[in-house]
């Protein structure tokens, strides 16, 4: 995974609460064999109409957001089914940071496992960012080392996350790389372990 230390990018505001994983990536796309390529189907039912034409009234279809890397949304983001395809789709689209005032548990963990930084701010702060981003092209900096979010106009907010998740994201480690630091113990174990 690519490490995240300090990231500056364009903010995409999604002013909705309780965005569930079936909205992030509908179930008809789960039969695919790759974890890449899900970005096309991100928010599929919002982005496309019955004829699979992009809906003009859905803001993510605005060409400028093709380069957005930070998503700010309402509360309880990522609720519903535990599918890992949701962070895969967000990441494949280009998002590296998701900001919300609250997240569903499994989704939050799945993000950190897949190299996406979930940032929990207060409701007020998240709403402020959504307003700023809706008003004009809005860039934000997220500093994971300092656990701070700030912009050039003076907005600044602190956030927190568990120490081991922060370490994994800062270093770009996934679960497997962490386990591989115990390789010698696994080697040792296999020498004496009996399996018939």
């Amino acid at each position: 995974m690519e490490p995240i230390r300090q990231h500056t990018g364009l903010v995409y505001p999604l002013n909705r609460a309780n965005v569930d994983t079936d909205q992030i990536i509908p179930k008809q796309f789960l039969k695919r064999i790759s974890r890449q390529g899900f970005g096309k189907f991100l928010f599929y039912n919002w982005r496309y109409d019955e004829n699979e034409e992009p809906r003009k009234d859905f803001s993510l279809n605005n060409p400028k957001y093709q380069r957005a890397t930070i998503l700010v949304a309402g509360e309880n983001f990522g609720c519903g089914s535990s599918r890992e395809h949701a962070p895969w789709a967000l990441q494949d689209f280009g998002f590296r940071i998701i900001i919300a005032s609250s997240f569903a548990d499994i989704f939050y963990n799945n993000c950190t496992k897949n190299g996406i930084l979930p940032v929990k701010l207060t409701d007020q702060e998240a709403q402020q960012l959504i307003k700023n981003a809706e008003a004009s092209d809005y860039e934000l900096t997220v500093d994971l080392e300092a656990k701070k979010v700030y912009d050039r106009e003076g907005f600044s907010a602190d956030f927190d996350l568990a120490a081991y998740q922060r370490e994994m994201l800062l270093n770009g480690w996934d679960d497997i790389s962490v386990t591989l630091t115990h390789s010698d113990k696994i080697d040792q174990f296999e020498k004496t372990h009996v399996v018939y």
Binding site: K31, R35, E84, I176, S183, K185, I186, V195
Partner: protein, 467 residues
């Protein structure tokens, strides 16, 4: 004297590689089973990082979920075909043994592990599939994992796990004639609810469990997940040992004798304590039929479908009403008055040779009801071959059943075998969720005997009086 331990603690202690206070332990995996649906992204992850499969010889793959049951080689659904081809390619690239379509060992992953002797007492077994609990019947610690974990096990042969809490489900007394392991597990879930095992690993103990065949033990362990438990197991005994003797991947000769000693030593010690115990009286259990949309919604064959107005609280009332609406059933009528259009004998719960023999035993020259379409889907090529050797296939066919190729089939309707919308199926599988056997399909879970009897009568009947 050392402390008395349960089999669950013994396996945990034997397989934990690394553990820090207050954190999950790193558990070594002895057998990793793989199928086509939950593995492609895991192999892709390895490829992207340039990683290898750490122990290809402790990994075993098959194809089951997408496999057609009429002509296995003709896969009409493009996505199904792609998943199957991808598994084959991945196994070749990473050196993983595979029993794919055309291989004599192909079959449902939870049927072939045991019958090949890959599943053994004391092993830790994982698969990207929730019914991995089936393998617990042998005294193995077996549980389902997600796709990220599949990748993790492929790369490291370990998973991070919290030490499980233990739940003793003690089943006293003997099961009555015509009452099967399937009725037992349905009745337990009916009595205790779909989440009574949440957070625990179940050990099934007691006289009724000791008297069960390995096939019966697999049926109850299979449905542990339907009780909320991630795993369920039975301590190994002579029944376990006899089943494993001479299986293709079981140890042979002197090594088998050594293994036997080790295996029997794994059984839970006299005086070991559990975090929780639930006692069940086997003598009271009757053949069961589910009427609703989760496995706890079941009644004995001679009972009536519940009435929402008699529910204990508003929540239950709504839930019952919702299930009745979906199932198209009337409250308070006898379950035996419900007619069906489909019968499915198959799935990792009930598609082994013994299940098919028991289903066949109630047919006795009778014919499938003219309004019913009935299919038998053996769990594996091995089951199919053995059944054909003893003429079971002919017996089913003569009665009007279709005799199919092995796979998951109508258990989850991913391969094209489905119950049409609004139609009703007596099924030997494990989940009666909404839409499980096809959009708007209606599933009633039963034992193989009860399914066969329903096929003949066109409605549910008590196998005990069906002579």
């Amino acid at each position: 004297m050392t402390k008395a331990k349960t089999i669950i603690e013994k396996i945990w202690d034997k397989n934990v590689v690394h553990q820090e206070e207050g954190k999950p332990g790193l558990l070594y995996i002895d057998l990793h089973l793989v199928h086509e649906v939950t593995s492609p992204q895991a192999f892709e992850g390895l490829r992207l990082k340039g990683r290898k499969v750490r122990q290809p010889n402790r990994t075993f793959a098959t194809m089951d979920h997408n496999v057609p049951t009429i002509h296995q080689n003709i896969v009409k659904d493009e996505i199904s075909k792609l998943q199957m081809d991808t598994l084959k390619k991945n196994c070749e690239e990473f050196g993983v043994p595979i029993a794919g379509v055309g291989h004599p060992h192909q079959g449902i992953v939870h049927v072939i592990g045991p019958e090949l002797g890959l599943t053994q007492p004391g092993k830790t077994i994982v698969c990207g599939d929730s019914h991995t609990s089936t393998h617990g019947a042998f005294g193995a610690l077996a549980f389902g994992i997600g796709t990220s974990e599949v990748e993790h096990v492929l790369a490291t042969q370990t998973v991070w796990q919290s030490k499980p809490k233990t739940l003793n489900v003690k089943i006293n007394g003997k099961l009555g004639v015509g009452v099967t392991a399937k009725d037992l597990i349905l009745a337990i879930i009916g009595q205790q609810g779909v989440d009574f095992g949440t957070g625990y690993v179940i050990e099934y103990t007691g006289e009724a469990v000791r008297n069960l065949s390995m096939e019966g033990r697999m049926t109850i362990c299979n449905m542990s997940i339907e009780a909320g438990a991630r795993a369920g197991l039975v301590s190994p005994d002579e029944t376990t040992i006899e089943y494993l003797r001479n299986r293709p991947y079981a140890p042979k000769g002197e090594e088998f004798e050594q293994a036997t000693k080790d295996w029997l030593n794994l059984a839970t010690d006299e005086g070991a304590t559990y975090d929780r115990t639930v006692e069940i009286n086997a003598e009271e259990i009757e053949p069961q039929v589910t009427w609703g949309t989760n496995p706890s919604m079941c009644v004995p064959i001679n009972a009536n479908i519940p009435n929402p107005d008699q529910a204990d609280n508003e929540n239950d009332k709504n839930e019952i009403q919702h299930a009745l609406d979906y199932m198209g059933l009337t409250a308070s009528v006898p379950i035996s008055s419900v007619t069906i259009e489909h019968v499915f004998i198959g799935s990792c719960t009930n598609s082994r040779l013994q299940d098919l023999e028991q289903a066949a035993s109630v047919i006795k020259g009778r014919k499938v009801h003219p309004d019913v379409t009935a299919i038998v889907v053996p769990g594996s090529q091995t089951v199919k071959l053995e059944a054909e050797k003893s003429g079971l296939d002919q017996l089913f066919k003569d009665a009007g059943f279709e005799w199919r190729e092995p796979g998951c089939s109508m258990c989850l309707a991913m391969n094209g075998d489905a119950v049409p919308p609004g139609e009703r199926c007596a099924s030997t599988s494990n989940r009666n969720f909404e839409g499980r056997q096809g959009a708007d399909s209606r599933t009633h879970l039963v034992s193989p005997e009860m399914a066969a009897a329903a096929a003949i009568e066109g409605r549910f009947v008590d196998v005990r009086t069906f002579v």
